[in-house]
Symmetry: C2
Subunit: 210 residues, 2 copies
């Protein structure tokens, strides 16, 4: 650990986004311990995060995926669209291939799981800042495995079905006919090899296809 140099000359400037304040604060504390890393802003949702990154232009942006307002993946995609130089590290609970694929497509440099050892976070920040990629090894292999077989409609319908809505409710919600909804559901069920809508929804969710 380097002696904390006050001037941020060689310090790696970091912005963190995470919706659980306590975890956010804790992660910041964790990084601040390192002498060469400085947390220049914290955000509790996607929009705040985007703002913070645009104004601070940090070296590295660490973000959760599931947040209010805008997901971390969306923020990453937006940053890429704007050609920001900031490197993005996704830090999430979910080891879902679909998430990783989307993260990489959004130009993320890192994808870490919250159950990795705490020390690895600072390491990852340093590596990423040097232009390297840091991907959770287990995920890296299966990442490009299954490429979401669902169509947009199937996804929508499945999401609502997973929340307990009946076919009729879903139909009303989406301005479709009930029969059509059942058709989509049926398609999704068979594509996923499930035996009913609930199982199908659960499966899709764990794959990150939502």
């Amino acid at each position: 650990m380097n002696p904390p140099a006050k001037e941020s000359r060689k310090m790696i400037r970091v912005v963190i986004a995470e919706d659980q304040s306590m975890v956010l604060g804790a992660l910041a504390a964790l990084l601040e311990i390192e002498g060469d890393i400085s947390v220049v802003a914290r955000a509790k949702n996607g929009k705040e995060a985007l703002q913070a990154v645009l104004t601070q232009k940090p070296d590295v942006f660490i973000t959760d995926i599931e947040m209010p307002e805008m997901t971390g993946l969306d923020v990453a995609a937006e940053l890429r669209r704007r050609h920001l130089a900031t490197r993005v590290i996704i830090l999430t609970t979910f080891a879902r291939a679909g998430y990783l694929r989307r993260a990489l497509e959004a130009g993320a440099s890192g994808y870490l799981l919250k159950d990795m050892r705490a020390e690895q976070l600072a390491d990852a920040v340093r590596r990423v800042q040097q232009g390297l990629r840091v991907i959770d090894p287990e995920l890296a292999t299966e990442a490009w495995a299954e490429p979401d077989p669902l169509t947009d409609r199937e996804r929508q319908v499945l999401r609502l079905a997973g929340d307990g809505l009946s076919s009729g409710d879903i139909a009303a919600d989406l301005s479709l006919s009930e029969g059509t909804v059942r058709n989509y559901l049926s398609e999704a069920i068979s594509k996923l090899g499930a035996s009913n809508r609930v199982e199908a929804a659960r499966l899709a969710r764990t794959k990150g296809w939502l």
Copy 2:
């Protein structure tokens, strides 16, 4: 912040349990910053946590609820059963009345949400160590509101139904007849004011009745 006194004479000794290593490490870092708090052990699941608390006999034990092997609530209950002097703080994502009630029944001194401000954790530790209770204010009010109307059977059945099992599967799993399963489900659905098994399961879960 007191000057870090190396001898642990007046230091508050803390054990932390949390299944996501990174969060665990971060929380520990957060507390270690405080001069008067010392993290003497960390656990990544319920059993480890119980062990750690029994051998370390810390002043305060901070634990997540949903963990492998044994939930934080179970650990708290076990500590109470053994008349440990250690105070327990539950630190969780879930603002569920049912969880809070069970936590209090298990003798916990604190119930904090992970989306509270990070600084409040250290405060809570100090207060709890002085014998005070620290309960999230929003939850405190509605805590004793609804007292879980479900019977054990209904709970079991509902849990499986929520995972997408069919009535037949559930019946097989529980060695019941399919009709009986449907009866329980029907009961649960009406008790919860839901309109089908999926919604019922979702409702029960958000109330912490699992």
